[in-house]
């Protein structure tokens, strides 16, 4: 059990510094169950980092209105984009001869988010002991984390689907476009459902108030 725990931490950290080997292992060598467990843990930790970040980051780098702080929404902001990305990417790559299964896409995406946790989490506490001049380091680290994550996402996608780099970039761009379409259709769907519900409700009211 202890060995497994050590592995649970070591394996993802090893992956982010050796992405090409790491993602190969993720696809071909590791058990999918372990990958999924780690992926959900990463999503949870990322949501936690974001929540703690809005609440506890230092005043010098963090101005937030407590009225609009909503932990639930912070979770949604993490989970929904990841799901959108995975669904869009899977839908596209199945048509474009990608070799990745949905679970592989999901795990590779989640593993790519590790830098956002590993770098940003300590900065929540560090940002409380920096001044405005030193906040440049904070912003630099944040950008670094984002850049690293995007790189990992790229490598992960390339390895999982066994694409060439240029094809990967093409699919990533198309995936973002597809995400936009999905968001649009989702909104359309919800507003239509709302209209139908209100229509039915109005008919009900008419019937009830008739006499």
């Amino acid at each position: 059990m202890f060995l497994l725990n050590k592995e649970l931490v070591k394996y993802p950290l090893n992956l982010i510094v050796h992405p090409f080997n790491g993602y190969w292992d993720l696809k071909y060598d590791r058990s999918q169950k372990l990958n999924l467990i780690i992926s959900f843990a990463i999503l949870f930790l990322l949501a936690l980092t974001n929540i703690l970040g809005t609440q506890y980051s230092g005043f010098v780098v963090n101005l937030f209105n407590p009225d609009y702080m909503n932990s639930f929404m912070e979770i949604v902001y993490v989970v929904v984009p990841v799901l959108f990305w995975c669904v869009a990417n899977w839908s596209l790559t199945t048509l474009m001869d990608g070799e990745g299964k949905f679970a592989e896409i999901f795990t590779s995406t989640c593993f790519a988010l590790i830098p956002l946790v590993v770098i940003n989490f300590p900065w929540i506490w560090l940002s409380n002991v920096i001044s405005m001049q030193e906040s440049a380091f904070y912003y630099f680290s944040n950008s670094l984390a984002v850049a690293w994550s995007i790189f990992l996402l790229f490598v992960g996608n390339m390895t999982v689907h066994q694409f060439s780099p240029s094809k990967t970039i093409g699919t990533i761009i198309l995936t973002v476009v597809a995400m936009g379409f999905m968001a649009f259709i989702g909104l359309l769907f919800f507003s239509l459902v709302q209209q139908i519900i209100s229509f039915v409700y109005i008919i009900y009211q008419e019937l009830v108030m008739r006499n």
Binding site: V60, N65, Q133
Partner: protein, 487 residues
């Protein structure tokens, strides 16, 4: 058992009394405030604020013993609190003293041995040594009288290559600086204020407003032909709506812009040098309904310590800002009650009191400070003068009355920073959402803490390092021993 019950009853009674007291106090405060006084928080929300000013008197012409005022359009107060009212409809100027008793009425002045009169004058300015300037709009001229109301000069329509041939000189507002230069705001002039030298000769324009180009309009203009374009609306800068001058000779002006800066402080070159370091740019209301739109500022009055007040004609509100651009307080409104107006036209400060002139009703409303308003005015003044200790006390008093006044916390924080209480200063800067000063206080605080605990921190580091070394060595020797034993 019975005694305990009695004891409990007593407790209940006491707590009930407390509750009643609390609720009664709450309703009382609410009734006093009304809805007319508010402030804006850092996040742009409207927050409650106690009234800084209250209307005390409503003065009409007959009350003052000067006959009814007919469409008065401007008012001016001298440093020794003499009040000059420009009674436009009756073509006269009425002078009142501090107790609002009539001192003089000027209906005519002598020009070349003949009596001359005003015709629908719109603007009035009185210098520190009580020279009077009148924008005599109907006669298309500016009249300059000395302190005994004898004519000094008349500024007629200027002739200059800067002006169009069909230019009609219609001065509506006028001011004069200490060097006797006259600045005139005239209708139909888009190039800024007209500047006249001490002899009354036109020199130049100053401080033109920027042109605002509507992108949609611009698009259609690009598509249309020259003939069509000539029929369309031209992009012209907005006109100013009013102006005033502070002690140092800077012109404060308001304009009718819905976008951009509608309050300006112009230096001699005509550049806008107003400090906008508050949470929002000074502009009147920042939250407004779309149908009524943003504030339309039509008068500005500069007080001491760089405080200035502007009058919004749309809602009849008077906003006051500190020199740093912090929104201090608001009062007034449109309506029929005391302290509300129908067509407010001009505001003027008499010391700390306000006079608001209502054009249609011909009445003057007098506003006097409340305890809160007095404390806040004094606090801002002391802060401006750099008397931090006094400002600290006064700001503390203001936040006791109004915890929503966020910029006051920065004032307290600065005094605490000077005193060396960095932790408290940080707390106050955080409350006023002032990151810059918070960072300053924090740097000093961090230095102080590190210096205080330097010995402890260093000891800890040394011990940790030594411990780590020892553990490593121990492991090494253990590993070697085991390796040896295995072999």
């Amino acid at each position: 058992m019975f005694r305990r019950l009695q004891n409990m009853k007593a407790h209940l009674l006491v707590s009930l009394c407390c509750l009643i007291g609390v609720s009664a106090g709450g309703t009382l405060v609410h009734a006093e405030d009304g809805a007319s006084s508010y402030n804006y928080s850092f996040w742009g929300d409207t927050v409650a604020s106690p009234a800084a000013y209250q209307a005390t008197d409503l003065l009409s012409g007959p009350d003052l013993g000067i006959g009814p005022l007919k469409e008065p359009s401007d008012i001016h107060v001298t440093p020794d609190h003499q009040i000059y009212v420009l009674d436009s409809g009756n073509n006269r100027i009425v002078v009142l003293d501090e107790e609002l008793r009539p001192v003089a009425t000027i209906a005519s002045f002598e020009r070349d041995g003949k009596a001359d009169t005003f015709l629908n004058p719109q603007g009035l300015f009185v210098t520190e040594d009580k020279q009077v300037l009148v924008a005599d709009t109907g006669n298309k001229r500016v009249v300059h009288l000395d302190r005994n109301f004898k004519l000094v000069k008349i500024v007629e329509a200027p002739e200059s290559e800067l002006l169009k041939e069909n230019f009609v000189f219609q001065p509506v507002r006028v001011i004069m600086d200490k060097a006797q230069r006259i600045y005139v705001m005239a209708t139909g002039v888009f190039d800024g204020f007209m500047e006249f030298n001490a002899d009354g000769a036109f020199t130049s324009f100053i401080g033109a407003n920027r042109v605002f180009i509507d992108p949609v309009e611009y698009f259609w203009k690009r598509l249309s032909t020259k003939a069509q374009r000539s029929q369309m609306v031209m992009f012209t800068p907005t006109e100013f709506t009013n102006l005033d001058m502070d002690d140092e000779g800077f012109i404060y002006a308001t304009n009718g812009d819905s976008f951009g800066n509608n309050i300006k402080k112009l230096n001699a070159q005509g550049n806008d040098i107003l400090r906008r370091t508050g949470y929002f740019n000074p502009q009147g209301d920042i939250r407004f309904s779309i149908d009524l739109g943003p504030s339309r500022l039509i008068d500005i009055d500069v007080a001491d310590s760089e405080m200035y007040s502007v009058l919004d004609s749309k809602r009849g509100r008077i906003f006051t800002y500190s020199g740093d651009g912090h929104f201090m307080y608001v009062f007034g409104g449109l309506g029929n009650q005391l302290g509300e107006f129908k067509t407010p036209a001009a505001i003027e400060r008499v010391g700390d009191d306000f006079l608001v002139l209502d054009k249609a009703l011909g009445e003057i409303t007098v506003f006097r400070t409340t305890e809160y308003g007095r404390t806040l005015n004094e606090a801002v003044r002391s802060y401006y003068r750099g008397e931090e200790e006094k400002a600290f006390q006064l700001f503390n008093q203001t936040i006791n009355r109004n915890a929503n006044l966020e910029f006051a916390y920065a004032g307290i924080g600065k005094a605490l920073l000077r005193q060396g209480d960095y932790a408290e200063a940080m707390k106050h800067f955080k409350r006023s959402m002032d990151q810059k000063n918070y960072s300053k206080a924090f740097l000093l605080y961090r230095k102080q803490v590190l210096r205080e605990h330097f010995a402890t921190i260093m000891t800890l580091i040394v011990i940790l390092a030594a411990g780590a070394l020892a553990v490593r060595k121990y492991r090494k020797t253990m590993g070697r021993k085991r390796g040896v034993s295995i072999e």
